[in-house]
Subunit: 317 residues, 2 copies
DNA sequence: CTGAAAGCGCTTACAG
DNA sequence: CTGAAAGCGCTTACAG
C-alpha cells in the first residue's frame, strides 16, 4: 500500500480527475511497484457495473456483420469495456441460452444482430432492464433500442436502381434469413409496383458463401426465361456467381448483370467490381456507443436510430 | 426462497449431482417461479472462477482464424463458459492492453493466436498464473501451453509438394506477419536445399485480402523471369490472383499455378479449386478444451500440442 | 479531496 | 446431503 484507503484507490482507478494529483502519483507508483491488477469481478459486484458488453451474432466464420462487430469491439475497448462474444447460429434456442449467460454475467448491455422474434425472450429482456440494442435490421417495435436500417427500404431502393438502369428480368437469390426475406419483399413489391413482372427467385441456406454463388449460376439454366440481372443476398454469392458465369464464357455485366449486398471489401476488389448495398459498420458502432454512453449517464435515448444504407453502383450492374 | 440455504442452491447450480433429487426439484421450481438469475460476478469473486475465457485475435473482419475461433467459442459455450473476445491488430501495445483487461476480469484462461514476442508481457503472464494457450503457431518456448502446428514445417512441406509436381520457378506472396514469414522461411530453405534456386518474393500488408491477390498478379510483370507457380500467404490472395490472371486470359494452372493457405471454404469452391494447406480448426478447439478441462481439474498437460496440417491438392497447382 | 463502514451475492471449508 | 459463517475485493453514500 501507498498510504491511502481502498476507497481512494478505487476513485483513482475510476475517476482519476477527482483525486489530488499528489495522491494520484503515489497510487500510480504503488500500482507500478506491486504489479497490482484491479479486480473487475469484485467491482462488478460492488458497483453493479461489469464493463462487459455481450455481442450476439449468428456466426463469425462467414458473417456480413464482421465489419460492424469489429468496429464495435474496438470502440468498446477504447471506453474500457470488454466484449463477451456469443454465437447463436440461426437457432432460437441458442439465442436464448446465450442471453441467459449474458444476464448471469451481469453484462452492462446486450447487442443483438437482428431482431428477437421469440416473445418470451423479449419479455425476459425487458424485465432484466439491461440495455438491449438490436442492430443491423431496424426493429419496428424494439425491445429497448434499435440501431440499423430498413431491409425493406434497401430492397425497394435496389429495385428502383436496377429499373432505372434498364434491367427488366431480375432473378433473386435469397438467403433463408428474416433479413434477406425482407429485402426480397421490398424489392418485389417495388418492382411490381413500378410495372415490372414478378421476379423469379432461388432460396439458399445461411450462412451464405461463395460456393452458393456458383451453384446459383448453374441453377439459372432451369429458369423458363433467362434473367438480365441477378440480385444476390450477399457479396459472396455475387462473387461466386460471377466467377461461374465467367467460367461459362458469359460476360458480366454485358450478358448478365449481378448485384451483391453488404459492400464487403471484396465487392470493390472483384473483377468486375460488384454493385452492392453499403451499410456503414463504423456508423452503427458509433451509434451503439452513443447509446451506451447515454445510458451510463442515465440520459434518454431515441428507441429507433436509422443509419441508412447506400446503393454503391459499380461495374457489375 | 424454497426452504434451503444459499449454500445448497449454489451446490445445485454448480454440481447438481451432489444434492438430493427432492431438494433439486424444489430449487429448480423456485428458480423457475422467481425468475432467479445466478450472479456469476459474485461467483467469480467468491469462487475464484469467472467462467470467462479471453480469446485474443488480430482481427475478425478478414481472419484466417475465424473458423478456429468459432469452433472454440462453440465448444466453450457447451461447457458453460463465455468468451471475452479482444482484438489486438498486429500491434504489440494493443495486445498488452487487452491482456491487462483480461487479467482484470480474472478470466480463467487466455487464448492467444500467435506467439507473444514481448518479453515483459510473457513475464507478466507467467506471474499471473492464469492458463495461457498460444494457438495456431506452435511456440518453441510456450508461456504455458501451445496448441498448433509448425509454420516452418508447413512451408517445407509445400516446397516438397510443389517440387514433386514439377514446378521450378516459385514466386512467394508473403503477408507481413511473423507466421507467414516462418512459412516462407521453411519453404525457401527446403526449396533451395532440394536444389531449387532462390524463389522471388513479394511482401503484402496484413490482414491479407482478395484485392492484394489482384495486385500481386499485376506485380508479376515486374519480375525478370515469370514464375510457374505463385505461393500465396492466404486463400484470399490466391483467389484474387486467380481472378486477375483469368481476366488477363491466363489459364490456371496450365500457364500459372497458384497455392493458397488456410483451406477456407472458398478454396474448395473456387473455380479452379485452390490447392491449399489445411489447419483443422475444430481439432485446435478440441485440444484447447482438453487443456482447459485438465486445468480445471488440476491435471498436468503437455506444454506442446502439435495438431499438424495437411496440404490439400486441388486443381490450381 | 479523503476515510470508515457497510454491503454487493456468491463459494467453501467446517460441522453435523 | 445440508447449513452457518466467514470472506472474496471492490464501490458508495455518508461524514468530515
Amino acid at each position: 500500500m501507498a498510504g491511502v484507503s481502498p476507497a481512494t484507490v478505487s476513485r483513482y482507478l475510476n475517476m482519476p480527475e477527482i483525486v489530488a494529483s499528489a495522491t494520484a502519483t503515489k497510487i500510480s507508483e504503488a500500482i507500478e511497484k506491486t504489479g497490482y491488477v484491479q479486480n473487475l469481478a469484485a467491482g462488478a459486484l460492488a458497483g453493479n457495473r461489469s464493463r462487459l458488453i455481450a455481442v450476439l451474432v449468428p456466426d463469425i466464420a462467414q458473417s456480413i456483420f464482421n465489419d460492424t462487430v469489429e468496429a464495435m469491439i474496438e470502440a468498446l475497448s477504447r471506453d474500457r469495456n470488454s466484449v463477451m462474444l456469443a454465437l447463436t447460429g440461426s437457432d432460437n434456442s441458442r439465442l436464448v441460452r446465450e442471453i441467459n449467460m449474458a444476464l448471469a454475467h451481469r453484462v452492462d448491455a446486450i447487442v443483438l444482430t437482428g431482431i428477437v422474434s421469440d416473445e418470451e425472450t423479449r419479455q425476459k429482456l425487458r424485465a432484466a432492464k439491461v440495455t438491449v440494442i438490436e442492430t443491423w435490421g431496424l426493429a419496428e417495435d424494439p425491445i429497448d433500442v434499435s440501431v440499423g436500417f430498413s431491409h425493406t427500404a434497401a430492397g425497394e431502393e435496389l429495385a428502383r436502381f436496377l429499373r432505372s438502369r434498364g434491367y427488366r428480368r431480375p432473378h433473386l437469390v435469397v438467403p433463408r434469413s428474416p433479413r434477406a426475406e425482407r429485402r426480397a419483399g421490398g424489392f418485389i413489391s417495388r418492382w411490381t409496383h413500378d410495372g415490372g413482372q414478378e421476379p423469379t427467385r432461388l432460396e439458399v441456406n445461411v450462412p451464405s458463401h461463395f460456393g452458393q454463388g456458383r451453384l446459383s449460376y448453374r441453377a439459372l439454366a432451369d429458369l423458363p426465361e433467362q434473367p438480365d440481372v441477378v440480385v444476390c443476398g450477399s457479396d459472396w454469392i455475387a462473387q461466386g456467381l460471377i466467377v461461374e458465369a465467367q467460367a461459362a464464357g458469359i460476360r458480366v455485366p454485358d450478358q448478365l448483370a449481378v448485384t451483391g449486398f453488404g459492400n464487403l471489401r471484396l465487392a470493390g476488389d472483384m473483377r468486375p467490381t460488384i454493385t452492392s448495398v453499403d451499410i456503414d459498420g463504423a456508423h452503427v458502432a458509433r451509434e451503439v456507443m452513443r447509446v451506451l454512453r447515454a445510458r451510463a449517464l442515465d440520459e434518454k435515448v431515441e428507441p429507433l436510430i436509422d443509419v441508412g444504407f447506400r446503393v454503391i453502383a459499380r461495374e457489375s450492374a
